[in-house]
Symmetry: C3
Subunit: 366 residues, 3 copies
C-alpha cells in the first residue's frame, strides 16, 4: 500500500539545513518521508531518541528497542541527539530529537486539499451566527443562532454547533462533531470526529420513586490549545461550566462528566472516565482506562497508572496505581507479595507443623 | 464567560412562592440563576442538601462539603430542607431540596430556541413514514420506510432512523443519533448525540476456521422515560429484543450488548459494559466502568461498585465490588488485609525465627 | 412488540430440506422465525448446541442452560446436533448447529429495503473519486478527492470519506461513519455506525513545557472480512499504517491506537483499548474492557480475560487475566488465596499465640 501524493523530496543535506542539524556523512541521498528504524526505506529518514528523554506518551517501552535495531535499519539517514559510532549512514545531529522529528514529519506530510474557505452551500448556518473571515464550513453542517466562530477555524462536514456556542481562532472540528448550546472553545482547539461536547450530565434525584434529571443550565469551556480525540463525551455543567484548561490533550473515547475542572497541560489517555465535579491540577497524567470517582481533587503533576480506580484526593506529585488506587510504591510491594501468596501460604503451613511438633515434644515432657 | 440570554429574573419572595417554600429573611433581592454554595453570585440562589438524603448520582462525596461552606457563600439566597441558624441571608425552606432545585433550575434555564415543528427542508423522510403532529425534524435527517414518530417528538440534525423503527411521544433524539431498523422507543425517551441504537451485536461462530456473524434478526425496545447519554451503543438482539426497562437512565459511552434485558429505574454510569444476554432486575445501580460477563442475572436493587468485573449471578439487594466482583463487605476485609500484607509477611518471618530458636532449644535438650 | 414484515414462511419439512437436516418427527408445522428455547413461539424454530462446542463469543455461560429448558420450550421445532430422546416436537438434526442456525437466521431475516444503487442526490461526491458499479451512496455523504470505492459497496447516510482513502468490494459502512484521508479498506469490510477510522493518535512530545503533537503522516489498513462495531476509534499511524488483519472482528467502543498491528481472525470485545504500536498475532481473543499498554507483543492464539491490564509481551497460546495480567492458572491460585486471606491472618495470629506459649514454657524451664 503506497501513500499517494508524496509532497516533498529533499536531499539529506537540504533536510539537515531545514532542521538546523549537524550533518555527519554523505548529504546527497534523496529523502521523501519519515519512518521508524524498523520500517524506514532507503528514501526515508529514521530517528533515534537519545538519553535525554523528553518524549511523553501513553507508555515507556518504546525507547530501549531503538538503539539495537539502528545498525540493521534500511533508512537513508537518521536523526539523532548524539553521534553514533560505526554507523555507515548519514546522521543528522540535533539538540532535540522530538522537535526535529515533528519538523521532519511536517515537511513530509501528505499533501491534503484543505476544506475551502467559506460555507459549503449545503450547510445550514443561522443568520444571527457571526462567522469570521477565513472560516471553512463543510457540507451538512448545522450552525444555530448566536454562534460565533473566529478567523481561520474549520468546521468539517456533518458538525452541529448549538445555540450561542463560540469557537475561537484556528480551531479544527473534524467531521460529525456535535457541540451543544452555550459551549465555548478558545483558540487553536482541535476536536476529532464523532465527539460530543456539552451533553447533559448524569445527575438524577430520586423523587417519589423515579429518577428525575437535574437540569444542566451550565456550559462547557475548552481553553486554548486543547486537543480532544474521537468519540469523546464532555458533559455540560449543572451550574457554571465544565472546564478543560489550556494545553490539555485528551485521547479517544474519554468521558468527562459535568462540572469537572481540569488544569493546564494534562494528558488524558484513551477510555479514561472522570466523574462529576472532579478537580485536576496542572500537568496531571491519566493513563488509559483510568476512572475517577466524583468530587475528588487530583494535585498538580499527579501520574495515575493505567486502569487505576481513584476513590480519594491525590496530593500533588504523587504517583498512584491500582483499583482502588494507592501510592505506586506501596502498590508494587503489595503486588509482589500477592504473587508470593502461594509461597507464604506454604510457609505458614510448614510453620504450623513445626509448632505442632514442638507442642507434642512439650506435651511429652509433662 | 457569561451565559447569554438570561431568561428570567425573580425576587427572592417571588421565587419562594413559585417553589412553595417558606421564606425566612428579606424577600426583595433579585435572583436570575442557580449556583453551588461555592460558586453562586449575589443574584444566584444556592442549595443545601439536608440530612434527609434522597439524591442519587454516581458518587457520595458531594454532600458533606456543603454545610461548612454555606456561611462564606456569596449566594443571594439559599434553598434548604431545614432552617439554618445564624445565617445572614434569606432562606427558602422546602420539604424536598432536590425537587425544589430541579424546579429552580427549570425556572432559570437558558432561553433556547426549540427546533421548529415540521420537517427541515433538507431532511429526507420516506413517504411511507408516519410522522405525528408537533414533531420537529432537523436538517440532514434520514427517516426510512415504515418509521412512525409520535406527537411532539424531536429528531435533531443528522439523525438516521432505520426502516420500521418507531418513536413514541415527547421523545428527544439529539444530533447525529443513529437508530437502525426495527427498534422501538416508547414515550418520553431521550437519546443524546452520537449514540447508536440497534447495531449488530458481537456474536460469531467459528466455522471452518473463520468467524461467521450470527445474523441479528431481533430488535431493540427502549421503554418510557428511558434516558441514554452520548456515544453509547445498544446492540440489537439475535432473536427477540434487547430491552431497556422504563425509567432506566444510562450515562455516556455505555455498551449494552445483544439480548440484554434491563429492568425499571436502573442507573448505569459512564463506560459500563454489559455483555450479551445479561438480565438486570429493577433499581440496579452500576457505577462507572463496570463490566458484566455474558448471560448472568443481576437481582433487583443490586449495587455494583466502580470498575467491578462481574462474573456470576448476583442476588437481589447485594452490593458487590472488585474484579472479579465479590460481596463488598468481604472485599473490603480482603483489601484491608492486602494492604497489611507487608506486615503479615514480616510477622511470618519473625515467627519463623522464633520457631527456629525453639527448635534449637529442643534439639539441645536431646 | 411484533416484528414487521415477516419475510418467509416454511413448513418444518421445507426448512429441514433447506438446511440439509435430517427431520425427526412431523414436518407439517409452519415456521416463520428463529428463537431461543426460552423465547421461541410455536411458529419459531429453536436450536440446541450440542457437546461439540464450536461457538465463540464473549462468554461461556450460555450453553449449559439450554438442555434443561428444551422440554418446556414452546418452539415449533428444534435444530440439534444429535437426537434428543423423549422430545415431543420435530427435530432437525444437523452436523453443525451453528452453521445451520446462521442459515436459518438468514432465511428468516427481516425483509429490509436495501439502499438504492447510485448516489443519493444530496451526497457530495468529489469529481475525482472513482466509484465502481453497484455502489450505493446514501444521503448527506461526503466523499473527498481521490477516493476509490469497489463494486457493490454501500456507504450509508452521513458518512464522510477523506481524501485518497479506498474502500474495496462488498463493503458496508453504516450511518455516520467517518473515515479520514489515506485509509484503506479491503473487501467485505463492515463498519458500524458512528465509528471513526483514521483519527490522529495520542502522541505528544513535551517541548519547552507544552505538549506538541507528533504529526501522523501514516494511514490505516483494514483487511478483508474485518468487521468493526459501532462508536469505535482506529487511529492512523505516525509512520506506515495501523493494520487490522483479515477476518478480525471488533466489537463496539473499542480503541485501537496508532501503529497497532493486529493479525488474522482475532476477536476484540467491547471497550477494549489497545495502546500505540502493539503487535497482536493471529487468533488472539481479547475479552471486554481489556487494556494493553503500548509497544507490547501478543502471540498467536493468546486469550486475555475481561478487564485484564497487560503490561508485558505474552507468548503464543498463553491465557492471562488480571490487572496487571498474569498467567491465568497462577492468577486463579492467587485469587483463591486472597479470598482466604482473612483465614490465613487468623491462622497466623493463632500460631503466634501457640509460639508464645511454647516460649513461655521454655522460659519457665530456665
Amino acid at each position: 500500500m503506497t501513500v499517494k501524493g508524496i509532497s516533498m523530496r529533499l536531499t539529506v543535506a537540504q533536510l539537515a539545513e531545514r532542521l538546523g542539524a549537524e550533518l555527519i556523512g554523505d548529504g546527497s541521498g534523496q529523502i521523501n518521508g519519515v519512518g521508524t528504524i524498523e520500517t524506514a526505506g532507503e528514501n526515508e529518514i529514521a530517528f533515534i531518541r537519545g538519553s535525554k528523554e523528553n518524549h511523553v506518551h501513553s507508555g515507556t517501552n518504546a525507547n530501549v528497542k531503538y538503539l539495537s535495531a539502528v545498525k540493521q535499519s534500511l533508512a537513508g539517514a537518521v536523526i539523532a541527539g548524539m553521534r553514533i559510532e560505526d554507523l555507515d549512514k548519514p546522521q543528522l545531529i540535533v539538540k532535540n530529537v522530538d522537535a526535529a522529528l515533528i519538523e521532519a514529519l511536517n515537511i513530509f506530510a501528505p499533501n491534503l486539499k484543505p476544506l475551502s474557505e467559506g460555507f459549503d452551500p449545503s450547510a445550514k448556518v443561522a443568520e444571527s451566527a457571526r462567522i469570521a473571515k477565513g472560516v471553512a464550513i463543510g457540507a451538512f453542517v448545522v450552525i444555530e443562532d448566536g454562534v460565533e466562530i473566529g478567523p481561520n477555524s474549520v468546521v468539517a462536514g456533518g458538525c452541529k454547533i448549538g445555540e450561542n456556542s463560540t469557537i475561537g481562532n484556528n480551531c479544527h472540528l473534524d467531521s460529525n462533531v456535535v457541540v451543544y448550546h452555550n459551549c465555548h472553545l478558545g483558540n487553536n482547539v482541535v476536536i476529532q470526529a464523532n465527539t460530543t461536547i456539552g451533553s447533559t450530565g448524569f445527575g438524577y434525584s430520586l423523587i417519589e420513586g423515579s429518577h428525575k434529571l437535574i437540569p444542566h443550565n451550565g456550559g462547557v469551556v475548552i481553553e486554548d490549545f486543547v486537543e480532544i480525540g474521537a468519540n469523546c463525551c464532555i458533559d455540560r455543567a449543572k451550574f457554571g461550566n465544565t472546564i478543560i484548561g489550556p494545553g490539555t490533550k485528551v485521547d479517544n473515547l474519554v468521558q468527562i462528566a459535568h462540572n469537572v475542572v481540569i488544569g493546564k497541560n494534562c494528558l488524558i489517555a484513551g477510555q479514561v472516565g472522570i466523574s462529576g465535579s472532579c478537580k485536576l491540577g496542572d500537568g496531571v497524567v491519566l493513563a488509559g482506562q483510568v476512572g475517577l470517582t466524583d468530587n475528588i481533587e487530583i494535585g498538580d503533576g499527579v501520574i495515575i497508572g493505567a486502569q487505576a480506580g481513584v476513590m480519594n484526593d491525590i496530593g500533588a506529585g504523587e504517583k498512584v496505581v491500582g483499583s482502588p488506587a494507592i501510592n505506586s510504591k506501596e502498590a508494587f510491594q503489595i503486588m509482589g507479595l500477592m504473587k508470593r501468596l502461594p509461597k507464604l501460604n506454604k510457609q505458614l503451613k510448614q510453620l504450623s507443623k513445626r509448632v505442632e511438633r514442638l507442642e507434642a515434644a512439650e506435651d511429652n515432657k509433662k
